[in-house]
Subunit: 232 residues, 2 copies
């Protein structure tokens, strides 16, 4: 079944690279179908057809469609969450502003590189209402907590005014503009990522002069971080 609803700037169904491992080919084809047709509107049969394998072979790699989406969704947050501890060790508490800038930057990059802009599905009702994605929601909550924790250290007064429990959610949402821009066909350049990270610091009431120095320190800090296997 071919996909006719593609639009400019939307992911397109391209022939899968037959040299990638089958598991990766399945994930890639599924991501394209989920983002184009919706999760409920996609069958495992269609995913198998897109890869050019039989449905039985697909079930050798994944027990269900839920499991495929769960893995894809994890790839939109796991690479960021995996860096949180190192970022906090290297930057906070001496320079929580650098930590916040670095976290936002890593998060923008993860979302910009996640397969087929799968981050778009994070707030999808299928995902927020099914227990199959409890693990993903747990990782996402961990990320919101990290934003909140670092932001509270960076700007204690403002964090209280903006309700500690929600500041992390607000910053995470702000950074998720990445998926929306990407979905509209806007390329996520380094300047775009820097603008989003700077806006996060501004949202915490951090003045311009300190944002500039946080940006410089974050660049150094990220060079020191072990390369994330999810990035290329």
């Amino acid at each position: 079944m071919s996909i006719r609803r593609t639009r400019p700037g939307r992911p397109r169904l391209v022939p899968p690279t037959t040299t990638s491992p089958p598991r990766e080919q399945i994930l890639h084809a599924a991501a394209q179908l989920f983002v184009t047709k919706g999760f409920a509107g996609t069958s495992t049969r269609e995913i198998a057809d897109a890869v050019g394998i039989r449905q039985a072979s697909l079930y050798y790699h994944f027990t269900s469609k839920d499991e495929i989406l769960a893995e894809l969704l994890e790839r939109s947050v796991r690479p960021t969450v995996d860096q949180v501890e190192r970022i906090e060790q290297l930057a906070a508490p001496e320079s929580p502003e650098t930590a916040l800038y670095a976290l936002a930057l890593v998060d923008v990059r993860t979302l910009a590189e996640a397969p087929d802009n799968i981050g778009l599905l994070a707030t999808h009702p299928d995902v927020t209402s099914s227990e199959a994605f409890d693990a993903f929601r747990g990782i996402r909550a961990e990320l919101a907590d990290a934003y909140g924790r670092i932001a509270r250290t960076a700007a204690p007064g403002v964090a209280t005014a903006a309700e500690p429990g929600h500041l992390g959610d607000m910053l995470m949402h702000l950074v998720e503009v990445t998926t929306s821009l990407r979905g509209s066909g806007v390329p996520i350049h380094d300047a775009t990522a820097a603008a989003i990270a700077s806006t996060c610091l501004r949202a915490c009431g951090i003045p311009e002069s300190r944002i500039a120095s946080a940006a410089a320190s974050a660049a150094t800090l990220l060079d020191d971080l072990p390369k994330n296997p999810g990035h290329h």
Copy 2:
């Protein structure tokens, strides 16, 4: 068909009020089903069943499932966009900070009151990829433009640093945290709305002292606005 996947804090299928106009009953039942089961996973038959009418009667009010979702989505942005002109007339250009605060506050309220948290579906692939929702995407782009235009007037220096074209998108995304909080069962109090609006101003580099006065002026301004028919 009953819905078994409801979770704490999620919209629940409740018997429709038989005193509301049928069109409203259809919209309400559809919203609950779309948010719980996804758009692709819901049939017009199920919507008709939930209302207790025949499918033929549903088609008397709406020509398609797309048309139902389009109207629901419009209700998550139209009440805000309808206030933009008045907000800008009353506040900008003398006080663009007040205009931005007021816009964010009206937007939080619209999202907090939209039927069954339907704002959650705004970035849904079904919506972003189908031409049936071109009109909705147009109104949403209008809202992002308004955020950007007002923010540029409120903080011209910062707006340039944060790329003029994207500042509006970032602020709109930040405010959409409302749907995410609401989806997690967090009540959207006046204090929550104020925290989100203040964070928008901070994100534009506006200092605390001026945020406090913008909040006070915005309260007066909103009292002067004609009551939005979509609000209760």
